[in-house]
């Protein structure tokens, strides 16, 4: 009975729908003739021009052919590719919601990706609002990633690093993934005809291994804007996948005895140390690597706000409302770079493969560095659990949690979380420094 009524209603609705469509199509005959008679020029009827502008038509037809300077005509891209990208956008949103993969970023990016691929809407073209977000926040001057870094700084506690400074070396070692991937990208270019990465592209791809979203967007926006969409998606996806990618590598490279190493309690850190730290890092960066100072500077400004204790209202705003507003806009702006013609290429496949390699090598380097440091250590008391090495890739605080989890599997009383936060926050500085080097050496040309 209920079913019957339901079916009846569906029929009624279908009728109504047909009636409504008839209502739309009717004037095609009525007015089209009248108008053409009136104007005597070939004017498209309203319905015809509306049909031309639908997404449906855009999805089933090719775009305008492109004619280059030599007069060679390339056929336009098929509209179905835009539909594929919309599905990619939906996938990112699904991963964000159902799998909790970096939802704060992947939902806006995925949504922006959908908007950018709607045919005839031009949302990501000049004049569209996503284009405006991109150009004013990332393209012209990378204000969005810098403001995100300000907020990250205002949320980050460098205390665990200050309590055990030598763990900073783990954060250095884990950046090895960046540079091996860079070489990998160049090797792909030499090997496959369909892949063409410039040295700038390769640098931007390598930075995925830094496991830090704003740094990756900052560098890709400067060195390889066309690849920015793929690079950001790869970076955030692998950051979300850290709990799956890292543990096997960590277990492979360590013995059970190593994983069971207990580390001694971190010393308390005084407020004055925490205030001096961001200024020290900024000055060191100014001396050695000016190209990294925008990133490092904003991170340290946020941290100074947090630690100095006299500007709490700035610190809270930077870590809450400001970062939230910028996250929405940054996500949409990154999504605007998921346009089908840029994203659906062999190069994107290459980026996805290389990104995974970058994360894996970074993880391995961090663990191996920890083992090396243990080899060189004079006393047993100073030994570090090599599981915290993997946290050096950044991906704060996920990677530190992974260290903690794998450590608990080996020794259920061994809480590594705080120890792993040291290399973890050092990894953020490390990848910002690596971005600075790449920018200084390949950005000028």
């Amino acid at each position: 009975m209920h079913k019957y009524r339901y079916t009846m209603r569906m029929k009624w609705l279908a009728c109504l729908s047909l009636a409504a469509l008839a209502f739309v199509l009717m004037p095609m005959d009525l007015f089209a003739s009248e108008l053409s008679a009136e104007t005597a020029v070939e004017e498209k009827s309203k319905v015809e021009s509306l049909w031309q502008s639908t997404g449906l038509k855009g999805f089933i037809e090719r775009g305008q052919p492109v004619v280059d300077a030599d007069g060679v005509e390339t056929p336009g891209q098929h509209g179905i590719l835009k539909l594929v990208m919309i599905l990619v956008g939906l996938l990112l949103i699904y991963l964000g919601i159902a799998k909790k993969f970096e939802p704060l970023l992947l939902i806006p990016i995925g949504f922006g990706g959908i908007l950018a691929n709607i045919p005839n809407a031009g949302i990501a073209e000049p004049g569209g609002f996503l284009y405006a977000f991109y150009s004013s926040g990332i393209g012209d001057v990378p204000i969005f990633p810098l403001l995100i870094f300000l907020g990250v700084g205002a949320m980050t506690d460098f205390g665990p690093l200050l309590a055990n400074p030598k763990t900073a070396l783990l954060g250095a070692a884990a950046q090895f993934g960046i540079f091996t991937t860079l070489i990998g990208a160049l090797w792909l270019t030499d090997t496959f005809d369909s892949i063409n990465f410039s040295i700038q592209d390769a640098s931007a791809i390598g930075i995925i291994g830094g496991a830090d979203g704003p740094t990756a967007i900052f560098l890709a926006g400067k060195l390889a804007p066309d690849l920015l969409g793929a690079i950001a998606v790869a970076a955030y996806s692998y950051m979300a996948l850290v709990p799956i990618i890292q543990p096997p590598i960590m277990r492979l490279l360590t013995t059970k005895a190593e994983r069971e190493i207990e580390m001694k309690q971190l010393r308390p850190v005084r407020q004055i140390e925490k205030i001096v730290f961001p200024l020290s890092v900024l000055l060191l960066c100014a001396l050695l690597l000016p190209s990294a100072t925008p990133l490092v500077g904003m991170l340290m400004l946020g941290n100074l706000f947090k630690e100095c204790g006299v500007v709490d209202r700035l610190s809270k705003t930077a870590a809450n409302e400001l970062i939230n507003i910028v996250t929405i806009m940054l996500g949409l702006a990154v999504g605007s770079k998921l346009q089908a013609d840029k994203f659906l290429s062999t190069e994107t496949l290459g980026i996805i493969v290389l990104g995974l390699i970058a994360f894996s090598i970074g993880t391995a380097s961090g663990v191996l560095m920890a083992k090396l440091m243990n080899k060189l250590a004079k006393t047993d008391g100073g030994k570090i659990n090599p599981l915290i090495g993997s946290a050096g890739v950044s991906a704060v605080p996920m990677a530190a949690r992974v260290s903690n989890k794998v450590g608990l599997e080996a020794n259920s009383h061994n809480y590594l979380l705080m120890h792993a936060m040291g290399p973890n926050v050092a990894g953020v500085i490390g990848s910002a420094v690596a971005a600075g080097v790449l920018l200084a050496l390949t950005g000028g040309g």
Binding site: S17, Q265, N404, Y415, M418
Partner: protein
């Protein structure tokens, strides 16, 4: 120009109605399909609205709390 206005009205209302009729169909179909899914167990009390803490955070916050607690125990025991 009034003729063009009438044309706009016919096409416009047609599109508005088509859009919302299709939306009605979409809501009915998706409602029927989605209500066949089993009830999720993780969020039984969810009513809608913004009032609750993010579900992502909770388990991990718990872990952090355990770790911190352990750290304190260790320090004060030593």
């Amino acid at each position: 120009m009034i003729a063009e206005g009438f044309e706009l009205m016919v096409v416009g209302m047609g599109v508005v109605f088509s859009f919302l009729v299709m939306l009605v169909i979409l809501m009915r179909v998706s409602g029927a399909l989605l209500n066949k899914l089993p009830e999720p167990e993780t969020a039984p009390a969810r009513v809608g609205g913004n009032g609750q803490t993010s579900q992502t955070e909770q388990p991990q916050t718990a872990k952090v709390a355990v770790a911190v607690a352990a750290a304190y125990r260790k320090r004060h025991g030593a």
